[in-house]
Symmetry: C2
Subunit: 232 residues, 2 copies
């Protein structure tokens, strides 16, 4: 469950995030301090309003980042893939987490203590810049979600999410979306009730725009979905 002598410097995962700009000594220090952890599907990595003692670098698996609202419903803000850093925001601004992270797959994660991150943030401007650029992209992404949520219908949002999932997380050998989500999770991304989401998917299926096998979804007609989003 712990460490082993795995070496950050040779870890291919780090190429996918801001850690790639770190120097040899910084990586060495992180290698020594990090803790490898496994999370089973459904397990919680952290909750809202927690104080994090470091960030999590995802080596394997996917995680949903979600937020509860006062009325008990929850909204998935983002799906974090292999290579992403979780908890950055909270560590940087020294605030409680505002999201919770839950494993969608079995995951393998490296926990990197806050101290290492803060040292690099304070001393390695390339790193700070890389994190900044990353965060500015997330902000843009969030702005887009806001507009989509308020201005588009459930079916448009569903179509958009499906295409997004295909584009960003790919398909398996048979063409099914790699991300496997429960209908409820799907609904929590779209921002709707489970049944509404299901009804939309079943409509898409009737139209031949998607097909399903078990829980898996395959996009059959992305053009039609795109047209739906833009209103033809």
């Amino acid at each position: 469950m712990n460490n082993h002598k795995k070496d950050c410097e040779n870890c291919i995962i780090k190429q996918l995030n801001s850690l790639k700009v770190l120097g040899r000594d910084e990586l060495k220090s992180i290698s020594d301090a990090k803790i490898m952890k496994g999370f089973k599907k459904g397990e919680t990595i952290f909750n809202e309003n927690e104080k994090l003692r470091g960030v999590f670098c995802v080596r394997k698996g996917k995680s949903k980042l979600s937020k509860m609202s006062e009325n008990g419903k929850n909204q998935i803000i983002k799906i974090a893939n292999k290579g992403e850093l979780l908890g950055q925001r909270s560590v940087i601004s020294e605030e409680m987490t505002n999201l919770s992270a839950t494993a969608l797959d079995d995951m393998e994660v490296c926990f990197i203590p806050k101290k290492n991150i803060v040292i690099s943030l304070n001393n390695n401007i390339e790193f700070t810049k890389a994190v900044l650029i990353q965060m500015s992209k997330e902000l843009k992404f969030a702005d887009n979600i806001i507009v989509n949520m308020t201005q588009k219908s459930v079916s448009q949002r569903t179509a958009e999410i499906l295409l997004y999932l295909e584009k960003n997380y790919g398909k398996d050998e048979k063409g099914f979306l790699s991300v496997k989500l429960k209908r409820e999770d799907m609904a929590n991304i779209v921002g709707t009730a489970k049944e509404g989401c299901i009804r939309t998917l079943s409509l898409f299926k009737k139209n031949g725009w998607i097909s399903t096998d078990r829980k898996k979804i395959k996009i059959e007609n992305s053009i039609a979905l795109k047209n739906l989003i833009t209103g033809f």
Copy 2:
């Protein structure tokens, strides 16, 4: 319309944003390069999908940051007050703007060329960190909006916005909100149709929770509004 010998180092406005951590020489350089501009109420500072050649530091007035969706409706993401920097995100990640900025008041703004910002981002880690922390707060804010939009009713969102406007932009001597928004703008913040927003406000008025004079709004019972948000 241009420059004058106004000095950034002595500008009180810079205390309100990331520029406050800059050194004397950096400020001097910005002072020399900056261009002061006035924008009349309703004028556009920049549009979506523009390439910015610098950032705008707001000395006076307020601006709405909004985004068009494919269907022609637009959503206000944020209201920028005196002291805020506009266009940071776009300059940092070297992308087109994803929002447009429009003056809500008569504004006074300093345009700071991209070059100055980039130099400080590359050399002054305190500055980069300050911007990073600022951006991480904006990201958190955006996450909150997403949840509110999807999980709360129009009246809850309206109540929330009213309290937010009071808390963040204050009231005038008679207790009316300082931010004066058209009903349409208000609706574009709440993420609803103008009429829906108006109806909600008129209900609030009937309940005695707010009162109005002309376009101005005064909050009379913030407790009731808070209770509405949390569902009693």
